[in-house]
Each structure stands twice: as structure tokens, then as C-alpha cells.
Symmetry: C2
Subunit: 171 residues, 2 copies
């Protein structure tokens, strides 16, 4: 199972929200996210294109591993995620194992759903507004086609394959 | 906060249970445990005396880091633990990060409580019966004294500082 994903710059979220609703999408939830990204003790994730992070949402905490991006069109990658209890203890465990904080990303995210596609309207601290579209599946090409078609309907055209962390570290 | 702990060999759990009850201890729960211990991707835990494992209990899964043992009397060590959901996903995350399975320990454990002390009656696959006594705190010496005093009352006298994993790997 892959996380097939594309990301686009977006000047105005309100325009996108109207278009999501006009094609039958609905708001699922809004949440503040703090993502804490880690360096591996013996591997350079910036070279291997992997990511490992804790996400603290309003009501739950998650641990996520993302493998290298596959292909060149999208941000599709292998992803595994677990929900856990005990944010401070998890931070301590990772530090004891030699993982060091690489950077933090703070954003507010509104989750919309349109069929099998999740549409996230992100306002990222220091970076601005983005829209991420995601679908889960094994057929990358079919998934990418679906996402780019919806992106077209939402008026999105300027895409970005870099992660928020990469964009922040470049600033 | 330390996990101050001692472990003793035990021929007959029934004798110990009677003694626990006679000093006011009570059964909290029984559970089957599968502990999956991992090797670090770039550090030799058998040399650093650390441990990192997933525990699958009957009703929950835990991730635990244990630092090197402190002192020479007990198995006291720094410990942090989190509860999580998603056993298979966690295994995949650890494998992707370069952690490899070092060994597995299966046991049935009966948890008793006597004041602040947790008494675990363990029947470990391939190793036999043991009793572990544990107290949490910052004063290692005081904690050790408490545990050895209770161990005396329970008729325990043959202590072991090695972990179940170490004992299994030695066989």
C-alpha cells in the first residue's frame, strides 16, 4: 500500500474550498499539527530521501516512517504510521536511540474528503498556504492521474515535490 | 525516574503466591507477553547493555527502551515506555529504520501488587519460572533495600541480573 500524494501552492484557500464543495467534497476535521522530524543515528535521510517523524495533533500523537519518493510526478512513497500515547516518553526513547531532531513543522490543516481522495488545506508556519491531495493504493500511475485530475478541477497548477521540512530548511 | 528491579529463580510459584497473600499483596492481572527485542542499526546493545523492544500483551502493545544497568546489586535502569496501536506497522517502521530482531521472549506473567511494589510471577518459555520485583523511584539504594527485604519474605534467594533474552541467547 502506497501513499500517493501531490502538493500544490495555493494563494487562496477559500477559492479551493468552494470548488471542493462544488464537486461533492466535505470537511472531515481541522487540526493543529506539530511535526518533529528526526535524523537517523547512522544514515543521512537527506540523501536517502526518507523521513521519520512524530506528529502531535490536537487529540492524538503519531509516529510515521516515509520511504524514498517513487517516480518523478508525485510525492508517492511507502508509508507506515502508528498512533501512540506518551509524547514526552517517545521523544526520550528516540533520543536515547540516537535520533536527533532535524527540524519542526507547524501547520493548521483542514481535512476534506472527496471519494477516496483526502484533500488537506495546509497553512504552514513561515511557508504559507498549500493543498495536498492523497490517495492510498498500489497503482501509482492510476492514483497520480486521479489526483492531478482533481487538482485541475480545484484550479491548482503549481506543484511542489519537496517536503515542508525541506522547504523550511532551504529558507 | 528509575525502574528499580530484581529477579529471582523460583521453583514453585504457588509457595510464593501464598506468601504474597500473607503479607497483604493482591493479584492485579494475568497476561501472555511476547517480547520482540531489536538490534540497533549502528550500536551493539550487547556491549552497551541497552535494550529496545516491542511487547505484545493480550490487550495492548508497548514500545520500551531500557538503558544500561546501574550499580551491581539489581537490574535497575532508566526506562521509558509508550503504548501504541498497530503492531505490524510498528515492526515495519523499525525494520525500515534498520533495527533487526535480536530475539523473542514468550512468557505468561501474573502481576501482583504489594504497596508500591509490583511482583511479577513469570513462566518463561524454555527458561522456567521466575519472580521479578519492581519499584519506581529515584533513590536506587532505598528501592533495592525494599525489594530485597520483600524477596526475603517471599523465600527468594537465588537472584539473576541477566535479562530473559540474555539467558535465552546463552542456551
Amino acid at each position: 500500500m502506497l501513499e500517493i500524494e501531490i502538493k500544490a501552492y495555493c494563494e487562496n484557500h477559500d477559492d479551493v474550498i468552494e470548488k471542493i464543495k462544488s464537486v461533492g467534497g466535505r470537511l472531515v476535521k481541522k487540526a493543529d499539527n506539530l511535526d518533529i522530524y528526526y535524523r537517523h543515528p547512522s544514515r543521512d535521510f537527506t540523501r536517502t530521501d526518507e523521513a521519520f517523524r512524530i506528529r502531535a495533533e490536537d487529540k492524538r500523537t503519531l509516529l510515521t516512517y516515509k520511504g524514498p519518493k517513487l517516480g518523478v510526478r508525485s510525492k508517492t512513497r511507502f508509508e507506515r504510521e502508528i498512533v501512540f500515547e506518551g509524547l514526552d516518553a517517545m521523544k526520550e526513547i528516540l533520543e536515547k536511540l540516537g535520533f536527533a531532531v532535524a527540524g519542526e513543522v507547524r501547520k493548521t490543516r483542514a481535512y476534506y474528503r472527496l471519494g477516496e481522495v483526502e484533500i488537506c488545506l495546509d497553512s504552514v508556519d513561515s511557508l504559507g498556504n498549500f493543498v495536498e491531495l492523497e490517495i492510498k493504493g498500489d497503482d501509482r500511475e492510476a492514483g497520480e492521474n486521479t489526483l492531478f485530475e482533481i487538482a485541475g478541477k480545484l484550479g491548482l497548477s503549481r506543484f511542489e515535490r519537496k517536503s515542508y521540512l525541506e522547504l523550511l530548511l532551504e529558507k
